[in-house]
Symmetry: C2
Subunit: 241 residues, 2 copies
DNA sequence: TCAAAAGTGTTATAGGTACACCCATGT
DNA sequence: ACATGGGTGTACCTATAACACTTTTGA
């Protein structure tokens, strides 16, 4: 692909990892991705361990410099795809961090994005970032490089806000899901317990959560009805608001 | 001051206005400010008319490149101060716009900020940007340069959201104000009428709107009690949330 | 029959909406 | 007295929260 060649060639002009420190860039911008992992009791965040200075050995958010011929969103999508191998990930811009001294080797302004994925069957080793990427509980984060702790705090707050209003669970939990599974998603993300009856009443107002005629199978209790996300209805209602 | 000299010298390396197009920067980042003006029936936005290509003659948001030794927020504060001559303006980062082709002369990623000011007694001519800055109704915007229409739409939406939860009116309406004045602020910003009684009940929940023992004077109707913003109480409640 | 989770119903409270009415002031 | 906006009260409706209860399945 022609574009790839151009991209890679250009990228070397901004390559930060293999050059001596004193020839480091003076001005650059990057994206950083806060990938939340759903699956365990606590919500997780995907971090990579830094193999080089600065902050060697500390944990950091996956990210990259933005290529000169690449939109910001495209850049975030590229990094997320390399990280997760998931094709159709929803992600959202959070905030831009631009303190002069946030990167010790030069001026790097970074645009933060967040996404949430299902950790089940998710193998970070399959991805380019590979061996050094690990999940960490959002409640027990290690020492982080740069201002990445701020970025995570900011992103987590935005994730919580969006959870109440957007179907972030779509693409994370099973395509056909029980209301209890949906409730678990909310409880994990918001770190808060909900009353079953009240939760169902609230979900009932979300017209885009549509019941199917299917039920769970082979469970040692009463099988639950399965629901699914009505994408068309959701998009239609979004447009008119 | 030493810092100023350094800033100005450095800035010339990124100066965009006085250099031939073919020596234009390849990569830069800027801030753009959406200054909302409160005072007339409709909410206004401060725009400047472009005197040079690209988009010569079109209206654009005031903004500037970010100096290499300047934080993003500092940069926005500097531009806003130059624009408004107001010392203690509240402003907030909105979103970062980074499409590759958003600037026809090179790659410029811009970070958008918004602020809201009182237009009364506000004279943009006193400021550096001077003669070409004008207020425009947010409901009737002219043709805009770059992606500035998107930036305004995005900022306006964020302004509306924040109006419900933050005391944006502080510093915009009089320091001691009537509840009707406060209601007018909400009505103008949100472009929506409120019921007097219900509005007052809602305000009653905002503990940081504190009644004083003062009243309006010389009005041809029953004088209204004056209220003021309780900054200490607001900050205390912010910290604990 | 029992455990486990599905699924529904009841009640109390809080907040929002619509609207009516009285009050204090200058002219 | 009257016009004008200040200020308050009521009645209704809806959303939320706490909690109790019935139902259906596999073991």
């Amino acid at each position: 692909m022609a574009k790839t060649n151009k991209t890679l060639r250009r990228r070397n002009e901004y390559q930060i990892y293999d050059v001596p420190i004193d020839s480091f860039f003076e001005l650059a911008f990057s994206i950083d991705c806060v990938v939340f992992g759903y699956g365990k009791k606590d919500l997780q965040v995907l971090l990579t361990q830094r193999g080089a200075e600065p902050y060697k050995g500390l944990w950091a958010l996956p990210g990259d410099l933005v290529y000169p011929d690449e939109d910001l969103d495209t850049s975030a999508g590229r990094v997320l795809k390399a990280l997760t191998s998931l094709p159709d990930l929803n992600f959202e811009q959070v905030h831009t961090f631009g303190a002069v001294d946030r990167h010790p080797l030069g001026r790097v302004v970074t645009v933060a994005y967040y996404a949430i994925v299902n950790m089940k069957g998710f193998n970070p080793k399959a991805a380019f970032w590979a061996d050094k990427a690990k999940w960490h509980s959002v409640k027990n984060l290690p020492k982080l490089a740069f201002d990445h702790r701020d970025i995570i705090d900011y992103s987590y707050k935005k994730l919580k806000e969006s959870t109440m209003t957007k179907p972030l669970w779509n693409g994370v939990i099973e395509e056909k899901f029980t209301l209890t599974q949906l409730q678990s998603f909310f409880e994990t993300v918001l770190d808060k317990k909900f009353d079953k009856g009240n939760f169902r009443k609230k979900i009932d107002l979300f017209q885009y959560v549509k019941e199917t005629e299917e039920f769970e199978k082979d469970v040692p209790y009463r099988p639950s009805r399965l629901f699914k996300f009505d994408k068309k209805l959701y998009q239609k209602n979004e447009e008119s608001s």
